[in-house]
Amino acid sequence: MDISLLLRTVLLSLLLPALASAAALDDYYLSQFNKQSKLNKTLSAVVGVETVQAERCRTPLYRSLKRDWSSLEPATRQVLGKYVARPVLSGQLSDTSAPTYNSAGGHFTIHYTRTLPDAPDLTDADSDGVPDWVERVAAVFDQVYATEVTSMGYRPPPVTRYDIYLLDLTGDSAYGFTTDDGAPSGSNLSVVSYIEIDKAFTDPMFTVNGRYTSDQMLQVTAAHEFHHAIQFGYNYYFEFWYAEVTSTWMEDEVYDSVNQLYSYLPKYVPVAGSVSLNGPLGNNSEYGRWIFNRSLVEGHSGAVVRSAWEKLGTLSPGSSPTTSTGDIQMTPVLDTVIANSYGSTLSADFFGFARRIYARDWTSHTGEVSQIPAHANTGSYSSYPVTAASLPAPSVTLPRYTFVFHKFVPTASVPTLNIWVTKTSGMQSAVFKKSGGAVSEVAANVGGTSYTVSGFGGMSSVNDEVVLLIANTTNVDNHQANFSTDGSGGVVQDPVTAAAGGGGGGCFIATAAYGSYLHPKVAQLRSFRDRYLMTNAPGRLFVSLYYRVSPPIARVIAGHEWMKGGVRLVLLPLVLAVQHPAEALLLILMLAVVAGWRLARRQRFVVEESL
């Protein structure tokens, strides 16, 4: 049998739509969306029909539902209307049939309905035919646009009028959603999206039992979701954690008085030793991580966040390190922007952020500092000396971009406290002295591996403290540090794994020489490592040795501009070999032949001479 005919037959047979009746199709979608059909409900009462477990949370199946929309029963449409790709509001037949209202600023179209459950409050006090709440929603989004786009300079989403849908989201326990209209298919990675928000924000779930007003929740939701729309406009392949960090941070930049975002900080600040800044989403920590953006902005300027998004807008997944789902890793982008525009590094800024969490020396939104949770101590010591035998063990292994604090309780029996820290290349440490409510940082002794805290014995054991901060300021997991107060620190070993986050990382020397992790030549070397070295035992051994040896070398190169050119020259043959492997192999073979020929000739002369 002809293979192409076989393939066509198999393909066609598999792609033929199921010969299901309209009722079966209805049942399928109702079950997928966790809604029970009348038939199923009746049967289950009699024979206990197995219910299909719905996908976690809301399961749209948007596109298929839209495709099959015309085949569904009216009652099914009524139930599932809001799940179609672009929302079909209650009482409407399609996503385009609902009444709309264009915002005065001209940037938004608000879609709403007059039919419950999606209908908002229809009060129309000014009798202009448009519910007042709809007009309020439009005004709030105009205000958000004015701040985020006009004032702060973010690029607006790539559409003339952005679509906002008002619908009942209480069943979804969601303030709102921002969804793209489809992944990009070409080189233009800027995509259009749309926003769905709750129709009223009156449910106690949204107002946190009346702590906030509905209008306040509308405001911060609009600020948050519209920035997601901006993010889709910069680059579809943004990384989720930084999208949430920026959107949540933006809530306070647009509506400074609401302050609901502070309620997410307890999900991150006290657990910053185990939750990576760029770690996966979970337990709402991603919303709490917004505080990093504030630190970043206080360290540089408000433009640093926008610059990072603008930089992302110039990148593509093909030439950048990516996550396992194909999104562009954000930490290298941040590092590049911080290095190129602000003369710092992400590593230094993350350490500065950790310092600020302890010192609480925030310089903006100062009236809200009390709403930032205090740091949490991983360990506390009141028996001295602190050695490897102390509990908790004075030793930490930290995931990428995390930090921990250890407290030393003053005691009269230790007049001067000495702290020795032994750490791997990715760790940074600092010691703080808090006395009489004033916090000061203790400078490291010469060599940078120990600290001397004088007057320790005279400090209050109740109100004063000395705190050691240890931070993993790299994108590599499992950096280690240990410490003691008698100099008896143990051995630490640099992690040998490639950088976490999905795309590998850490061509340290090349990164230092070329100035950026994102440099195309560094990307080529990374690719070579992942494809040809990490796939075999000798290659992995080489990479492992390289990771142990290269970080200190890279630091020296990074600190001396004149060295970078030389290292680039040394790396050139390697880069060329990676770029042109066939030619490189040919050249090596030719050199081997020449070397062999010369060796043979030399041996012949030796033989002739001996004769």
Binding site: L7, A174, G182
Partner: protein, 155 residues
């Protein structure tokens, strides 16, 4: 001797029965396929076309000299201030293009987000919109490929 041979035969048959491959359920957890996952579930067995869903509604042997490819298209969800909204939603009706050394086929995903087909063993580029993944199909084996077709930010 005959009894011994019969015993060996029975034992071999028994071992063969015990070792015969059976259907295994895989699910997509948002980044990869795992045994027993809850979303994007598909049943897989060597030598058979994989079956999307939680049960094996029919068994179709793979044509000789082919392997199976099951492409799962999904929308990645994230976030959720009040309730976790993360996970993966299947995307139905998505156009998937599969290109091998000497052939290109295309098809649309079904309601469960899967496109299932039999292909000659070899290396293929599997494309959904702007995303292309290179995948290898082995004879009488199933290749599970996940392609993201969209993102949804919750809250």
């Amino acid at each position: 001797m005959r009894v011994l041979l019969l015993g060996i035969l029975c034992a071999t048959a028994g071992l063969g029965f015990a070792a015969s491959p059976s259907w295994q359920g895989f699910g997509f957890d948002g980044s990869g396929f795992t045994k027993g996952g809850a979303s994007g579930v598909i049943q897989v067995r060597d030598g058979y076309l994989p079956v999307p869903g939680k049960s094996v509604v029919r068994e179709d042997q793979l044509p000789e000299a082919t392997g199976a490819m099951a492409v799962f298209c999904f929308q990645q969800r994230s976030g959720g201030k009040l309730r976790p909204q993360g996970g993966a939603s299947p995307m139905a009706g998505m156009l998937v293009t599969i290109t091998g050394d000497s052939m290109t086929v295309a098809g649309r995903t079904d309601a469960s987000g899967y496109l299932v087909l039999a292909l000659p063993p070899g290396s293929y580029d599997v494309r959904l919109a702007g995303v292309t993944k290179k995948w290898v199909v082995d004879k009488q084996k199933t290749a599970l490929v996940a392609l993201r077709g969209g993102k949804r930010m919750g809250d």
